[in-house]
Subunit: 408 residues, 2 copies
């Protein structure tokens, strides 16, 4: 038996309760599993009014020219530009103001407003500021060039032009342009339906236990990542209840928070193995090392630790990537990355990917929180975080590192 | 009469139809009007589950210590650390596994799980990996330090500590921390209720007119800026209909899109003057020069041009700032600003603030679209925009300018 086979049997699928994780799976391997199981969802058609923030599934081309015909661009008087040649402040020329008709005769001007089709015969629009009406006579104080104040057919957009690429997150201006073209629906990637199973409280939990942080936090993260909550199931703490909660069809992804560790009540991994296939349990990650993943009825299930800090970390590094990929979004961490200098030593454990919360002090970073302390206070306080890869034991002052911003 | 008084009477309040804007108000003056009338809204209490993305109105302090008592941090065996001194791989020490009781006797160990209160008498937790149970005997393979695997009362957070500052846009981790503290509600700034009045189509509009871009676009921008749509009123194109649409109580801000120009049907400014006070109409801004603003029954009303490009521009530069300020958000443009070099000359009109759409070419910017062409195609195509201030006639190649990114 190769050492790799051994690890598959020991580190990933065995009952770790009361014995601990013998062998932890590298984070890269977990990310590969996620990428292999993150299938972009099919598209659905939604009304333009509901498409803001959705991911366009199919490239859109212009269905016709914009404008559709030559149009007036400026409020003013439609004229023949040749009739204005020689006009000046001291030599105003007079045109006859005509009621709108089928075409503009020579020597005439007609009051027009922006957006209307250009009157045949006219080739320019004189803004109101450049002329003065006196009864039926228009005094013109300057010449106007052919085409001035006019927008030619197709000047904004040509029929057939590529308009919006697939994969774009639709912005207000995209919706406006589609509406201008009278396009009423857009093909967008369906939102992943995520089921949240909040396992626990552990059977032995004390009454002084903190409130459930993971439900509201995960709901907000899942929504941020373009998905919807298919169901929120709380209080599943028995093996069969968890197995049933993950097996019911209807979700694209199931997140189980809690009951992933090495205590006697940590039944979530066993429940996944009962219901389907537990592929990975126990990662070389801190916080978040008791995370896991598997498939139940073909649906990816991610196990997230019950401690809120570890849960946050495992969601951001693992589950969020899965959901964003399925949603057609950029799978990278949804935080702005900056290169910053380390101001105070960052200590990490060799062999583990460490997610260190940091604060900004005079444009350098300092670690906050401790690997020995859980809870979200350090994440809330942090200006960002640094990911220290497994082979490193940390960073020294002066090192330049990538910091992901947790903007407040 | 001073020239300033003259302008007040002419440029801001007069009927510009069929005559044009005689005097345009500087953009800075319009922004000052907006800042003077943007009053942050009062707070409301919402459930934590609904607070993601909301602006915290009142600073939150920790209501109690986290953890509330000394707790187990690691699944394992609670022990007295002194009992493990001298243990090693070749010299395991034996402890008696005791059922949980009121306190841990000397020479004993008790199986515990993370999160539960620490058993009196115990001062450390040995992870399962560091020991082996043989019946009622626990073999210990190494010493454990006082405090290992334990989280002391208040170690995450002290009662009374400042937790989250007012003004923060609540993130998933903030909600999680509040939930940990069993805080169920948060005081957040009420969302501005924005009424959209889509004026027009103009009475004379041709059947070939493009579809209404402004309704769906503004809805998406208003929502992006933290507000809700109080009502969407379409098709108001008579003076009294617009006046009535802006006068009905119930909105914090009214946006009127369309009918702001110099054509005979451009009745929106007159309708505002009928219903309340038209403070400004006609700006030294391109696109968007026919924008305006005023108060009706104390409620700010912003006039946005009907051309979608000009509407987009006037919303982003003027209306969006008003709404973000009322919502308690950062009032600055909601786009990432970068300094970039100009690759191809950007031409602007002296005396007007010009919003020039640009594309990125080899890390330099080039202008796209034309001041003579309306519609949203150039905004959709653009990678960003540059604001050229009124005294400048543009930028030359090599100039370094601030570019606001329109990320796709």
């Amino acid at each position: 038996m190769s050492s790799n086979e051994k690890r598959t049997q020991r580190g990933r699928c065995s009952d770790v309760r009361l014995s601990g994780f013998v062998d932890r799976v590298p984070v890269d391997e977990a990310l590969s599993w996620i990428d292999a199981h993150a299938v972009k969802l099919p598209s659905e058609s939604v009304r333009i009014q509901e498409a803001a923030g959705r991911v366009l599934a199919t490239q859109i081309h212009a269905t016709h020219d914009l404008p559709l015909v030559d149009c007036v661009r400026t409020d003013g008087y439609a004229v023949r530009s040749a009739d204005t040649v020689g006009a000046g402040d001291y030599n105003p020329l007079s045109l006859i103001i005509s009621e709108l008709q089928s075409s503009l005769p020579s020597g005439a001007a007609a009051s027009v407003v922006a957006g209307e089709p250009l009157l045949p015969g006219a080739d320019a629009v004189l803004p109101f500021e450049a002329a003065r009406a006196e009864g039926a006579i228009l005094e013109v104080f300057g010449p106007v060039a052919d085409g001035y104040g006019i927008e030619r057919q197709g000047q904004q957009l040509r029929s057939g032009a590529s308009l919006i690429e697939a994969g774009i997150v639709l912005r207000p201006q995209d919706l406006g342009l589609l509406a201008s073209l009278r396009i009423k629906f857009a093909d967008v990637v369906r939102r992943p339906r995520v089921r949240l199973v909040v396992a626990g409280p552990k059977l032995c939990a004390a009454t002084e236990a903190p409130g459930d942080a993971n439900g509201p936090m995960l709901e907000a993260m899942v929504t941020r990542d373009g998905a919807t909550i298919e169901a929120m199931i709380a209080g599943a703490n028995q093996r069969d209840a968890i197995a049933q909660a993950v097996s019911t069809p209807g979700a694209d992804v199931v997140l189980v928070a809690g009951c992933t560790g090495t205590g006697v009540d940590d039944l979530a991994p066993l429940a996944i193995a009962d219901a389907g296939d537990l592929a990975i349990h126990g990662l070389a990650l801190r916080p978040g090392g008791s995370a896991g993943m598997g498939l139940v009825g073909g649906t990816p299930v991610i196990l997230l630790p019950g401690d809120p800090l570890a849960c946050w970390c495992a969601y951001e590094l693992l589950a969020g990537r899965l959901i964003r990929k399925m949603a057609g979004l950029n799978p990278d961490l949804p935080f702005v990355a900056r290169q910053l200098k380390v101001g105070r030593k960052i200590v990490s454990a060799i062999g583990l990917v460490d997610l260190c919360r940091v604060r900004l002090v005079n444009d350098t970073i300092e670690p906050i929180g401790s690997p020995e302390s859980g809870g979200l206070a350090s994440v809330v306080e942090a200006d960002g975080f640094v990911i220290v890869s497994a082979p490193l034991e940390g960073y020294a002052p002066g090192d330049c590192v990538t910091v992901y911003g947790l903007h407040k």
